[in-house]
Amino acid sequence: MALRLRSRVAFGTAAVLALAAGIGLALFDRTPTDTTALLALSLPDSSGQPQPLAQWQGKVLVVNFWATWCAPCREEMPEFVRAQNEYGAKGLQIVGIAVDNGDKVQQFAKEIGLNYPALIGGFDAMDLSKDLGNSLVALPFTLVLDRQGKVAYTHLGPVKPDKFRSVITKLL
């Protein structure tokens, strides 16, 4: 009986430890949280005015890496426009970082009535996203930072509106 109990305890402990180690490793691997470099970034907006990202610290900050040459990026942006409209007053700030040229960005921003800043980033900015979970350096890539500037959510590909809203409303 004692042996059986001991073996059950051993089984349980080993399983829990292995699971915790695996999840820990997976999280460590998948969700980098150091946003210092990102928040230290200052990029020009589509009119050429430098915009430091630090100005939005304290808000729930959504950083969306995109480009006009990326059709799936353009398709998801109306959802960001709606979210900015609905939650902007509650402290949501969406910021787009376009890996693109200013003219194209300006043209597209006008077409969809963009209501949040569209900053122009080069491939350096994209490389920065690599350190924050975008290992393939592909687009669109979206990061949600909480009010403390920590990464709360990352997503490669178009966000699913329900999931996106549940993430931001929890943080607001």
Partner: protein, 178 residues
């Protein structure tokens, strides 16, 4: 007190030692932990695998360049560019064939390639027998809804010495297909 063995109709399960049980638990836990992040996630290919570039010398002046495009991925026709190294050589890229036409809401008519695409590049002013590096720039997307920035891949080919090699006198092949 000892009991006589009872025949219950089913075979008795082999007893596992504590170590065996712990090992099983460890394997189970590890497998579960590894599987968890995969749930509900897509794992797109890296661009060099999605749009695999290769090149081979057909003769002393011709290099066949090819993109092998994975299922579910596509390349933009107007984003494909080639260059060679050393730059002292000259590279003539023929006009790329028509791709599949797609109406893009922002850019209008765009052409894309799926499956594979090959092109015969004409190389001039290059020393035969020396390695030649082909740089191929491409840009494409995946149907799951992601796009890659322009990517440059390279392939090294050795052009055969001599101006003509067997096969080079054949009529020109259709150089592109989809």
């Amino acid at each position: 007190m000892d009991f006589p063995p009872i025949c219950s109709g089913s075979r008795p399960k082999p007893r596992l030692s504590v170590i065996e049980r712990a090992a099983r638990a460890l394997a189970f836990g590890a497998a579960l932990a590894l599987a968890l992040p995969a749930l509900g996630q897509v794992h797109p290919l890296s661009p060099d695998k999605a749009f695999l570039f290769s090149a081979k010398a057909l003769d002393a002046q011709t290099v066949e360049a090819r993109f092998t495009i994975a299922d579910g991925y596509y390349l933009y026709r107007d984003k494909i560019h080639f260059a060679i190294d050393p730059a002292s050589g000259a590279l003539l890229t023929p006009a790329l064939p028509a791709g599949k036409i797609k109406q893009d809401e922002f850019f209008g008519r765009v052409e894309t390639y799926r499956g594979s695409v090959t092109v015969n590049l004409a190389v001039r002013n290059f020393t035969p027998g020396k390695p030649l590096i082909i740089h191929a720039e491409s840009q494409g997307c995946a149907d799951i809804g992601i796009c890659y920035p322009p990517t440059t891949q390279t392939a090294t080919v050795a052009l055969p010495a001599g101006s003509v090699v067997p096969g080079a006198t054949e009529p020109p092949k259709k150089t592109w297909f989809n």
